[in-house]
Symmetry: C2
Subunit: 132 residues, 2 copies
Amino acid sequence: MNISQAAEQSGLPPKTIRYYEDIGLVEPARRRDNGYRDYGLRDVHMLRFLHRARDLGFTVADCRALLSLYTDQQRRSADVKAIALKRIADIDRKIAELGEMRLVLATLVEKCHGDERPDCPILDDFAAEVSE
Amino acid sequence: MNISQAAEQSGLPPKTIRYYEDIGLVEPARRRDNGYRDYGLRDVHMLRFLHRARDLGFTVADCRALLSLYTDQQRRSADVKAIALKRIADIDRKIAELGEMRLVLATLVEKCHGDERPDCPILDDFAAEVSE
DNA sequence: GCTTGACCTTCCAGTTACTGGAAGGATTAC
DNA sequence: GTAATCCTTCCAGTAACTGGAAGGTCAAGC
């Protein structure tokens, strides 16, 4: 099948599929006589795998590792789990960070009357001297 | 003062300060005879403002707007508040997204025994056919 | 006066993971 | 035959820096 079919079935845009080939995340696709890439079920599987992993926020580097574990029949499930746990820890760190930002902003927003007047506790906060 | 002092007092690395000047986020600094940038208190103020705003996750584009509101005595606090509210909405969207990822991953991780054996529900999930 | 180290300058390249677009060839529908 | 829709490659841009190279400046110590 052509790249656009593979795109449709994997959920990845054609551009992204070519990009993944470029960076060696997937094997170069077979080519037909006219130079078009030709995908089979197995290829689509791999692409879908990547789509799913990327959707869960794994980096391309992680995807490389996950894909290699996926194709390795001798893998240890512990290795997969470790990558997933690292990702969860990452997510937790980001959520915490965003939560702190949100808290600060919500506090400031609440104090700001938000009308035609120029005085604004939000800007005041941004401009405040750092407390020693 | 030199850029490294300005960096220390604003919390931004010298590289970043030069970068902000490059992209026109701050006015070009005064220069001394030797070509060195020379910063005053007012400059450091602006830089610290930017540091704070960036720390709260505002984009550089937002910072541009916030900085212009900051220096505008005729500003409407409503405009500042609107930017902050947009940022909060953004944070909420990101937290929700991360929360969903976390939920999925935590479920999968829990199911994975994580030992020497190769079978792994995480990989199984990634490789699963999309349900129609 | 000279050297050494710590500054400073500019400029170019790399990071992440794509995405848009141009130029040109192939295929398909009518 | 031709128009629309594919496909190809390649180059550039995105966000917000960061690292590093090449070279000028300055302050301290001998």
